[in-house]
């Protein structure tokens, strides 16, 4: 690993942790005390293996492989593991655009419901991205490649606008 790469990884790891800490404090400050946001560590990746046992899961993503591949490529990435008490209920990964003017939410997955009830994760996901985007001074959040029309419409309810040409939704965060 080059020194500049290692330095960027270290600096942005601090920002990620700062964003997730602020998000967790915000959530718990509004009486939701059983939710915690963390970086994607081995414990989260191990827990995501359980999702492969689901019969209702909509994607066949390998978070273990995907995360490790992107972790090295993108030191400025944003990542999030959402825990409800000791249960992993969501994972997400994104990164700033090349010039850093926007923060991309590349993919997100909630734990399949046939493996147990859980709350909706969207409000925690968006909150985490909002905070990290502001910390890195991005002006926009982009949700890339919405998986279908239902999910696209769902994001629109949260104030995101669709750009069909490039297949993403965005929201300005001035």
């Amino acid at each position: 690993m080059l020194a500049t790469h290692a330095d960027a990884e270290r600096r942005y790891e601090e920002l990620r942790k700062e964003a997730l800490k602020a998000a967790t404090e915000t959530i718990q400050g509004q009486d939701v005390n059983n939710i915690k946001l963390c970086t994607i560590n081995n414990e989260a990746l191990k827990a995501s293996r359980l999702w492969e046992k689901s019969s209702t899961r909509c994607v066949d993503w390998d978070w273990f492989e995907g995360y490790h591949s992107l972790q090295y490529r993108y030191p400025k990435r944003f990542e999030m593991a959402i825990w409800e008490t000791n249960k992993l209920i969501g994972l997400s990964l994104g990164r700033p655009t090349y010039q850093g003017t926007a923060l991309r939410l590349d993919f997100v997955e909630a734990s399949p419901l046939d493996l147990g009830d859980r709350p909706a994760i969207i409000e925690y996901v968006l909150l985490g991205y909002d905070i990290y985007a502001r910390l890195i001074n991005a002006k926009q959040i982009r949700i890339m490649n919405p998986i279908n029309k239902t999910v696209l419409a769902y994001y629109e309810k949260f104030g995101y606008e669709y750009v069909s040409r490039s297949n993403y939704l965005f929201r300005s965060i001035l």
């Binding site: 700062e18 602020a22 998000a23 404090e25 915000t26 959530i27 400050g29 509004q30 209702t56 899961r57 909509c58 994607v59 993503w61 995907g66 591949s69 992107l70 490529r73 993108y74 655009t97 090349y98 010039q99 003017t101 926007a102 991309r104 939410l105 590349d106 993919f107 997100v108 997955e109 909630a110 399949p112 419901l113 909706a120 994760i121 969207i122 409000e123 968006l126 909150l127 909002d130 905070i131 502001r134 910390l135 001074n137 949700i143 890339m144 490649n145 919405p146 998986i147 279908n148 239902t150 999910v151 769902y154 994001y155 309810k157 949260f158 490039s166 001035l174």
Partner: protein, 70 residues
Amino acid sequence: MMSQNTDDITKAKQAKRQKTGWTMEEIKEQAAKDFKKYKEVSKNNPEPEGFASGDMKKVLEEDEDNDEEC
């Protein structure tokens, strides 16, 4: 008059952020407001079944430099 003043303050804050970015205090203050809104929207709009979004395979294959900036 009051709303005119509020608009001016909001615009001034936005102009400052364009130059210097957000302070942690401002970020936390905004986060609390946003989270409250998100909870409300989420309560009234059930999560799509099997919620997942994005394209992991595409991201694994793509080149970082292909982002459009606007």
